[in-house]
Amino acid sequence: MGTEAQFRLHIGNFIFYSILGLFVLLIVLYVMVGLDDEEFIELLKIFTPIKAVYVTGLIKYVIANKKEIKIDRRRKQPSFSPLYRNVTKFMIYSHILSLFTVILGYALFNFVEWNVLKNLIIGIETFFGSYIGLLVTSLFPLSET
């Protein structure tokens, strides 16, 4: 089941490493000419501000909780409800998975035209962005210090 702290750590790590992975993927695809100069720069322009919002939320939480928290193991640790955990996981995993799929599909197989890909990415970001924004804010609240 896991405690709140464990779930937070898991999601925080996932967000951080998946965003890092996304940028690494873009660089690798650029080097392999799956993306040309213009496409690479345009994708960076799309992703950098959007992803910065998530990472900023995460970093703010980390800064606000820079002191080590002593956990009293004798007391039962609070945990999130299964619904909350599942919805959060579903939204965050689907978001990253769909981004990786469309970018790889374009770079490897040119499955859609460039303009269509841009619209797909913007659509994905718009759809998931607002929900994930809410979830990230609730999962990493600044007040909980």
Binding site: L29, V31, M32, V33, G34, L35, D36, D37, E38, E39, A107, L108, F109, N110, F111, E113, W114, N115
Partner: protein, 304 residues
């Protein structure tokens, strides 16, 4: 002089229009260029960038692009007749209408439309009678034709085409020799491209032939024009036109016109509209080198 000449040209043009075959009418009926409006408008900025690169934006301006169901018309504005002549005189090709033809070919190449659906109109901005000029460039009778003032009559260079008899030791007629040379070039170049097919997708190699020229449309090649890209190369789309001309002394001249595009992709090549023009970016310098390579290839075959 220029006005009456243009009137004659206009009559000739409409006469030719009447000769369009039923087959091409059927093909045109199935085309709707208005569906690709967004792409054409995007490519218009690429065309402007090309004119900027050529340094002609001062005298040649894009007025608008008319997109209709089965025709794409580019309207350009030029200062006046003297500008039109000056542009030709500074152009590095001997053929009188080479500049107009190259404008047309670049337009068709960027817009990705069949040549017979494209038209360029160039009109003068000046209202002075001596400076007024109207030029139409279109594809008629299997060739790009420039309807406008006769530039061959201007300047000191005599451009009249005179066919003289071949030397007595040649038993075949000039036409036969030319035909054989074109056939030899056709075989050499198509064999060469077919041998360069990429592994992941069959490269396609189309040849468009008319009386004295060959055009090769080669798609989905890698490392052909951009030859030093190492392990990871972009896909290339090459349009190579080789025209055979004879000068007044029956000397053979081969004119090469190369249009190159590139597109991203690792396994599968992009669609035709997904390619970008090489002349407008960092790959521009590769084009002259590639023409030299093709020239040498043909030279070797013709020598043997």
């Amino acid at each position: 002089m220029s006005k009456s000449y243009f009137s004659i040209c206009t009559v000739v043009f409409f006469f030719h229009l009447g000769g369009v075959t039923m087959q091409s009418q059927e093909r045109i009926a199935n085309i709707d260029l208005t569906e690709d409006r967004e792409f054409f408008e995007e490519q218009l900025s690429a065309l402007y960038a090309y004119y900027e690169l050529q340094g002609t934006t001062e005298i040649l301006r894009i007025k608008d692009l008319e997109i209709e169901k089965a025709s794409l018309t580019l309207n350009l504005m030029i200062g006046g007749l003297s500008d039109w002549i000056a542009v030709h005189e500074s152009y590095d090709k001997e053929e009188p209408n080479a500049y107009g033809k190259d404008l047309f070919e670049k337009f068709v190449h960027l817009m990705e439309v069949p040549e017979d659906l494209a038209t360029i109109w160039i009109r003068s901005m000046s209202n002075e009678p001596n400076e007024e000029v109207t030029v139409m460039i279109a594809y008629r009778d299997d060739a790009v034709r420039v309807f406008g003032p006769d530039l061959s009559l201007r300047g000191s260079v005599e451009r009249t085409y005179v066919i003289t008899k071949p030397p007595s030791i040649v038993t075949a007629s000039i036409e036969e020799v030319d035909e054989n040379i074109l056939e030899l070039i056709r075989t050499t170049i198509s064999d060469y491209y077919v041998s360069r097919n990429v592994d992941w997708e069959d490269g396609c190699c189309l040849i468009d032939e008319d009386a004295n020229s060959l055009t090769f449309y080669v798609r989905n090649l890698k490392g052909e024009i951009i030859h030093d890209c190492g392990l990871f190369c972009p896909f290339e789309y090459i349009v190579l036109n080789i025209r055979l001309n004879r000068d007044t002394s029956d000397n053979l001249r081969l004119t090469y016109n190369l249009q190159g595009k590139y597109g991203s992709g690792i396994f599968i090549a992009p669609r035709k509209s997904g390619y970008k023009d090489m002349e407008l970016n960092k790959y521009k310098s590769y084009l002259p080198d590639y023409i030299v390579r093709i020239k040498n290839l043909i030279k070797d075959v013709l020598k043997n």
